[in-house]
Every structure is written in structure tokens, then in C-alpha cells.
């Protein structure tokens, strides 16, 4: 016990004396949180829109008006020249164009089903899809309104339209930060423990102090727990900072239990700290371990559903994500934050995550020998 405490004290002394390390631990995560949660927004707003109006009647102007009066669309220009669409899109000036054909209002009044055309810049498929969805919604509202008006003034009152009432659960304002910030929590609990434990073990290997420790009676578990406990505590401290910033600055709502989150985070840290030990056993310099850590991190993050929803992946990749411990924790953290899920609902993720954690940690500890290669 005393030996372990000696190790822990030494580790903390070294961490707090290493300025670049302190910046990485305390400042980088907050900056990451701020930048990432503002930049990785899936909200689609202010789509610049070009209007080609060949009709130019009160009705067509009303349609344009209803597009204009939303947060989603900005009307950049009106034109009657179709060639402008291609020109403007190539210049990245507009992302969408609406073409209103001649005789649009006349045909609508005569129930001749006039056609409008929406042209969307499909380079960014996600945004294009969302923009198209918004525009459809606006157009169908417009149609409902005019159909009602037109049928009221004529004999055609046999039109029945289904009224839809919509309600968004868990994140009613569809704020992407509510979705992203918990994801960033997961990323931090992955990067930090993995990097720090790998780097600090490999650093000792590089300097030669690890060899010195290996010829002392210090037991393997004492050496490793002395190394890992400080990083475990730091990771929890980090979790606390990031959550505080998320809740105060981004007004994220935390609907679940803090205790449950902390317990599952502890289990997840077995995985990431274990990976750190593993990396330190297969590399010989800090550069090497940095490289291996980044490489595995990119794999973990891409396959976790952080940016790319797992359901959008090809089937084979979807299956592969079950091998990624981060995937489980990502779902767990998002569910706890947003849905306030209790353990009962999370067992499907918590059990495989625990198994992975135990496996990775045990294997790494066995791979870490008190011997040199």
C-alpha cells in the first residue's frame, strides 16, 4: 500500500510539473468542447436560395414569402434566367433554387396540378436532404392553405388532407449540442486516459526509469495502479469540468443519474487505460506511442457513431462497430443525458462494455511484464 502511494505521489508531482502536460489535461479539453460543439452542428439553417419566378403573380409571391419567413432559408436573389442556377451553385453562392413555372397560379386555381421544381446542391448530401425536407414542408403548408381557400370559394369541397401533429421527445428543440456535448464527453474519456497512460509509461521506458523500477521489489500491480490511479482521478476531474461547461455554457440538460454515469464511466476507463498500457508495451518511444494512439483513436471515434450514425453505415461496418467498446459508451452517455435512461435500459450496452473492459485490461496487464525485451 505504501509503495503504491509512493508511486501515486510521484506521478502527481511529475504531472503538475510538466507544463505542456497540464495544458493538454486542463485547457485543451475545454477548447475542444467549445470548438467542437459549435462546429459539429447538424442543424441546417440559413440555406441560401435562388428564386426563378416565371409566374410573378400574388400567389407566387406569397409562396416566396413563406420560404423567406423562416430561419432555414435566406433568399439571395430573384431571377428569370435558368442558367444562373448552375453558375451560382458553382460559385457556392446558393445551395438551393426554386423554379416557379409560368401560369403557376392560374393552373393551381384550375386544379391543373402545376409543378414547381426544387434544385438542391447535393455535394453535402446530409444538408441537401434536410433542406429538401424543410422546403417540402413549407410547400405542402402553402398548398394546404391555398387548397382550402380555393375549395371554399368553389364547389370542389371534397379534398381531404391528413393533419399531422408532431412532437419531438427528449430534445424538443432539436439542438445539436444536446447531442454533441455528451459525445464529446465520451471522446475525452477515451483520448485522455489512453494517451496519458501510454505516454507516461513509454516515457519512463525511454528515460530508463522503468528498467530501474523493474529491478526493485515493486510488484506489477503496485507499479500499474500507481500509474493508473492518478490518470483515473484526472479523467474524472475532466469529466466534471466538461459536464459543468456543457451544462452552464451550452445549457445541456442532464436527465439521468450522475451516479450511474460515474459508475459506467469507471468501467469504460478500464478499457481506455488498458489500451494505454497495451500501447506502451508495443512501442518504444513517445512518438511511436502517440502515432499508435492516434491511429486507434480515429478508428474508435469513426466507428462509435459520434459523427456518422451507425445506422447509415454499410451492414458490414455496422457489424464491426460491435467490436468497438466506445460505441457502447457513446450510446450509454447520450441516453443518460437525453433520455435519462436507467441501468435497466442500458444493460444491452453496459454488459458488452464491461466484458470488453475486463478483457482489454486483463490482457494489457499480463502483457506488461517486469522484464525488458
Amino acid at each position: 500500500m505504501q509503495r503504491m502511494l509512493t508511486m501515486i505521489r510521484k506521478e502527481f508531482r511529475q504531472i503538475f510539473r510538466d507544463r505542456p502536460m497540464l495544458v493538454i489535461i486542463f485547457i485543451v479539453p475545454v477548447i475542444q468542447l467549445l470548438i467542437m460543439s459549435f462546429a459539429f452542428t447538424s442543424e441546417v439553417k440559413h440555406i441560401s436560395c435562388l428564386i426563378v419566378d416565371f409566374d410573378n403573380t400574388p400567389m407566387s409571391r406569397d409562396l416566396i414569402h413563406s420560404l423567406h419567413h423562416t430561419e432555414q432559408f435566406d433568399l439571395t436573389e430573384m431571377t428569370t434566367d435558368i442558367r444562373q442556377i448552375d453558375e451560382r451553385m458553382k460559385r457556392w453562392q446558393v445551395q438551393m433554387a426554386l423554379i416557379i413555372p409560368p401560369h403557376f397560379s392560374r393552373d393551381l386555381e384550375r386544379h391543373l396540378n402545376p409543378q414547381c421544381q426544387l434544385i438542391v446542391d447535393g455535394v453535402d448530401g446530409n444538408t441537401a436532404g434536410v433542406a429538401l425536407g424543410y422546403a417540402r414542408g413549407i410547400l405542402s403548408n402553402f398548398q394546404e392553405k391555398w387548397t382550402a381557400e380555393l375549395t371554399a370559394s368553389s364547389f370542389h369541397n371534397d379534398v381531404h388532407i391528413i393533419q399531422m401533429t408532431e412532437r419531438m421527445l427528449y430534445n424538443p428543440d432539436l439542438r445539436s449540442q444536446q447531442f454533441m456535448v455528451p459525445g464529446i464527453v465520451v471522446i475525452l474519456l477515451t483520448i485522455l486516459p489512453m494517451m496519458l497512460s501510454a505516454m507516461s509509461l513509454v516515457k519512463e521506458k525511454e528515460v530508463g526509469t522503468l528498467e530501474q523500477l523493474m529491478v526493485t521489489p515493486l510488484k506489477r500491480y503496485q507499479l500499474l495502479s500507481g500509474k493508473l490511479i492518478p490518470f483515473l482521478l484526472l479523467s474524472f476531474f475532466e469529466l466534471f469540468i466538461v459536464m459543468s461547461v456543457g451544462i452552464t455554457v451550452f445549457k445541456i440538460s442532464m436527465n439521468g443519474s450522475y451516479l450511474l454515469l460515474a459508475c459506467l464511466a469507471l468501467i469504460y476507463l478500464m478499457t481506455t487505460l488498458g489500451l494505454g498500457i497495451f500501447i506502451s508495451t508495443i512501442t518504444h518511444s513517445q512518438q511511436q506511442s502517440m502515432f499508435v494512439a492516434w491511429f486507434s483513436m480515429i478508428f474508435l471515434i469513426l466507428m462509435s457513431g459520434f459523427f456518422i450514425p451507425i445506422e447509415n453505415m454499410p451492414l458490414l461496418l455496422q457489424k464491426l462497430t460491435y467490436l468497438n467498446p466506445m460505441r457502447y459508451f457513446m450510446t450509454i452517455v447520450r441516453d443518460i443525458f437525453q433520455k435519462g435512461s436507467s441501468l435497466r435500459f442500458l444493460l444491452k450496452e453496459a454488459i458488452p462494455m464491461t466484458l470488453f473492459g475486463l478483457m482489454i485490461f486483463t490482457l494489457s496487464v499480463f502483457k506488461f511484464q517486469k522484464r525488458v525485451q
Partner: protein, 246 residues
């Protein structure tokens, strides 16, 4: 039967790395209180041998005991009995002198009071009072080396392994380092030291010369010079490498 005076004993100790044989059938016996030197060029297998004896490396074949303990089965017990210092002077550069002593003493299981005593003792012995609270990285190399030695001896081990302890240190610092070694040996500590400085080999009680993993001579420096009719160890070493080397 092993004699109580023999503290390190190896029997055809061999270590291979792939197809390369770093240590080839080395058999030695080292007596208690002896300063035993291992002389050889870089890559002769000195470090590999010392690492096997410290339990850092498993031998490929052969037997060895250190303080009566088998190096294959009882390597963790051996670690209580030995001090080890490598050419890296494995101190933490970002800790102060005091903190380094405190750390290694804690690892060896000394209590608060003993740690405090050791700090005083070392600072007096090495005249380190002015440096106690400075970072180890700021120490002059010679002092750093003597501090590394002191930390390796915190638990008063009966055997001390030194792996090229004087590489990179100036001659004056080397001399004061050897004085410390003599003091320790006089107190009964067995010292096992590797070096590639031929002049240092004269300081050893007994000496073994290694080349390409094989031991090509073992004797006292005096009888080696007599046997090969050379005036200095420098000449003996050159002669042996030419005649017996591979």
C-alpha cells in the same frame, strides 16, 4: 554444494535474441565482498548478462543463482537483495534530489523516519546539501551519478550491479565514484561492474574479459598481466582480443 562464500554463480548461462547469441555459455563464481569487473567492447554481451542476473531477462539456457536464489524461478525475491544502476542513471529529472530519494526509499519500503535519515545521510556523504531541493536535471553529471548510486543502495543490498556506471563522466568524477565503490566493498557489499574503460579494470579485484558473448579470460588483473607478460591491462586486453577473440 554451494559454498556460502559464493554469492553469484552461473553455469553455461546463454541468451539468444533470434539467431544472435548475446551471451554464450558463461560460467562464473563471484565471492562475497568481491569487486568483480566485466570488461568488453560495446555489444560484447555485458549488459545482457547483467540483465539476466537482475531478473530483467530470462536466460535461453543455463543456470544461475544470485544470493542463493534461482534467477528463473525466484527473480522477484532477488530484487530485494540487489541494487542496480545502469548507464542512464535512472533518476527522475523532473523531481528534486530529495524527492528522488524519497521515491526510491518508498519503493524499497522504508518508513518516514528511515527516509528522512537516508536523505540526511546521503546529502552529507555526497555533500549535496545545496542541491537537495533543486531539480535532478540541474545537477552536474558526476553528482547525478553518485546520487544514482546512493539511491540504488538505499535498502543496503548485499549485491550491487553496476552497468557501465561511469560512461560519459569526466575522469575526476570517475575517481570519486570508485572511492564510493571501495567504501561499499569494504563494508561487505559484493560489486559486479561492467565497463568498457580498460583503466577501470585495474580497480577490480577480479576481472573477466568478454568478447562476442563469450568469456575469454577470468583472473585478477595482476595475474593476467603476469601470465601474458604485459605491462598494462590495455596491452592484455588487446592481446586477448587478437588471440582469443572471434
Amino acid at each position: 554444494m554451494k559454498s556460502p562464500d559464493i554469492i553469484v554463480k552461473t553455469e553455461n548461462l546463454t541468451r539468444q535474441f533470434g539467431r544472435f547469441t548475446a551471451v554464450n555459455q558463461v560460467s562464473i563464481r563471484i565471492n562475497r565482498g568481491e569487486i568483480f569487473g566485466f570488461l568488453g567492447a560495446n555489444g560484447a554481451g555485458k549488459t545482457t548478462l547483467i540483465r539476466m542476473l537482475c531478473g530483467l531477462l530470462k536466460p535461453s539456457s543455463g543456470e544461475a543463482t544470485v544470493a542463493g536464489l534461482d534467477i528463473k524461478r525466484e527473480s522477484e525475491k532477488i530484487k530485494q537483495k540487489i541494487g542496480y544502476m545502469s548507464q542512464h542513471f535512472s533518476l527522475y529529472n523532473d523531481l528534486t534530489v530529495k524527492e528522488n530519494i524519497e521515491f526510491y526509499a518508498g519503493i524499497y519500503g522504508l518508513n518516514r523516519k528511515q527516509i528522512f535519515q537516508k536523505q540526511n545521510e546521503i546529502s552529507k556523504q555526497l555533500q549535496m546539501e545545496p542541491y537537495l531541493d533543486s531539480r535532478t536535471s540541474d545537477l552536474p553529471l558526476g553528482l547525478k551519478q553518485r546520487l544514482a548510486l546512493a539511491t540504488a543502495l538505499l535498502h543496503n543490498p548485499p549485491i550491487l550491479f553496476l552497468d557501465e556506471p561511469t560512461s560519459g563522466v569526466d575522469p575526476r568524477a570517475r575517481r570519486s565514484f570508485w572511492e564510493l565503490i571501495y567504501q561499499k566493498a569494504a563494508q561487505g557489499t559484493t560489486i559486479f561492474v561492467t565497463t568498457h574503460f580498460i583503466d577501470e579494470s585495474e580497480y577490480c579485484h577480479r576481472l573477466s574479459i568478454m568478447d562476442n558473448g563469450r568469456m575469454i579470460a577470468i583472473d585478477t588483473p595482476e595475474s593476467m598481466k603476469k601470465r601474458y607478460k604485459k605491462k598494462s591491462m590495455q596491452e592484455v586486453f588487446g592481446f586477448l582480443i587478437r588471440e582469443k577473440g572471434i
